[in-house]
Symmetry: none
Subunit: 291 residues, 2 copies
């Protein structure tokens, strides 16, 4: 036997429909008509929409086993939550041979949730715009990162360097940033990485670059680096992690997607460059042959 609390409002209505009075049936039909959205307004709104009085709504709510109208509505909210929630996020266990509480599984849960949230926030149009900016050979691309984000900046730079010419990685030491600023021209793009704790210097660099007419793109976290306010475009990744540190996994995900987008916007040139690169590698015998 299912406990009454676990029945949906719709089920309760169906179960007790025969016990309902005329006005209540009218109300029940109106609710089922466009369920569950029809039950979301105030008791007054629901009453009016169904052409019954508010006490009728209340009485039916009580008949259905709720303590009052707000109680019924809370149940509807939970149902909506359950219906709308993305089922992909609910993977019970990632590493099947490890317990749920193993760090691998906990991490996997959080990362997937981060991914879901991040993708919901990204505006694909803005993403495309930035990809186009970055594939424009007319203007240079400058990349800068902070203490932790340096690795991301470096990763991004390494790939962009293969895709196109005229890409600079700004050195981590902010003392010599003025040298880099010298080389930035209007229309150039500055890609800055900054997650908490946000670094003063990045903010400064962004402001100065902006005043020189440089288009600034900031990759930051869900709270947003202060530098993002001065940026033309910004991408917010969720960086939650079951650890003392933040997670950069999703930031890297967005970066890789961006690299892929830029690459496909200018595949012909990129392909050429990659081939030349292969040749160079062959000559230096840096790599073993891949089988």
């Amino acid at each position: 036997m299912t406990a009454p609390e676990e029945l949906t409002v719709a089920e309760r209505i169906r179960n007790r429909f025969d016990n309902l009075t005329r006005a209540e049936r009218q109300l029940a039909n109106a609710i089922m008509e466009n369920y569950p959205a029809s039950g979301l307004g105030s008791i007054t709104a629901v009453a009016i929409a169904s052409n019954v009085s508010t006490p009728t709504v209340l009485r039916m709510a009580k008949k259905l086993g709720f303590s009052g109208f707000p109680d019924l509505q809370a149940a509807l909210h939970l149902e909506i939550e359950a219906t709308i929630l993305n089922p992909i996020a609910k993977h019970n266990r990632w590493a099947e041979n490890a317990p749920d509480t193993h760090i691998l599984n906990r991490f996997a849960d959080v990362v997937m949730e981060n991914m879901r949230q991040t993708l919901r926030q990204i505006d694909p149009a803005e993403f495309n715009t930035v990809a186009e900016l970055l594939s424009d050979r007319e203007h240079a691309v400058h990349v800068v990162g902070g203490r932790i984000t340096r690795s991301l900046a470096d990763y991004f730079f390494t790939h962009m360097q293969v895709i196109r010419e005229n890409v600079t990685l700004v050195a981590p030491n902010s003392n010599i940033w003025p040298h880099y600023l010298l080389n930035m021209r209007p229309g150039d793009v500055l890609v800055a990485f900054d997650i908490r704790r946000y670094e003063r210097d990045i903010m400064g660099l962004v402001k100065m670059a902006k005043s020189k007419g440089v288009v600034v793109v900031v990759f930051t976290d869900q709270w947003g680096s202060p530098a993002a306010k001065h940026a033309r475009h910004s991408f917010h990744s969720r960086i939650e992690a079951p650890s003392a540190w933040d997670s950069s996994v999703i930031s890297l995900f967005v970066v890789e997607a961006m690299i892929a987008a830029v690459q496909s916007l200018s595949w012909e040139e990129t392909e050429q460059r990659m081939k030349s690169l292969e040749d160079l590698f062959d000559q230096t015998r840096l790599f073993r042959k891949f089988t």
Copy 2:
């Protein structure tokens, strides 16, 4: 141009995120967290759930272009109605506002599959063993990466350096690797990153380190670096990507999970070190204060 009334609440939040204040961003994130169900309660309930005051909720609602909170909520109700009525348009996409074929969605699919496969392959016992090895202060940890994996090595190094002393990042230039080999002692741990195309030099370094009694841990891809054969432990991440490059997202995921595991194995010391680090940052005023 879309009329403002036709934008969803989520879109409005995205559009104006950069104009939001700290408390408002906190609220926005809480709403997006479990959207749209999170916005269904009373203004008070929403405020409490997000840990902000009710006026903040109201102010944000107005900033987003609504006349008040009930207006915002009515918009949510309409969205829910639209979503539920059209079940096909729903949840099979990550970035709901981009087509399935958009690179963001294709990337998300692949990453998710990579994660599944990778976690299925990892032996949690081995994972734990390596975490213990890395948290043993008696022995030094050396980290090395290749052309692409350098960023991962760097990331791992940066974090390990905070967690414990006696961690070295081996410089990318393999000419001077012999210098580093000089400092490796039996029982030390060498963490090497190597994904295709596998690099000859990494292989050489691993072999030599092994012959000196160093415990080698290799992070590689699903096919496995040849260096992995000489390693005591190895972790294989799936690096498939819808792009000309491989994806490092899952490798980073495993690295972060490992960092978290090591950190929790020696939390007391790590905590001390992190506090000292905070103090140092405060003194150098490198970061802006995070609120």
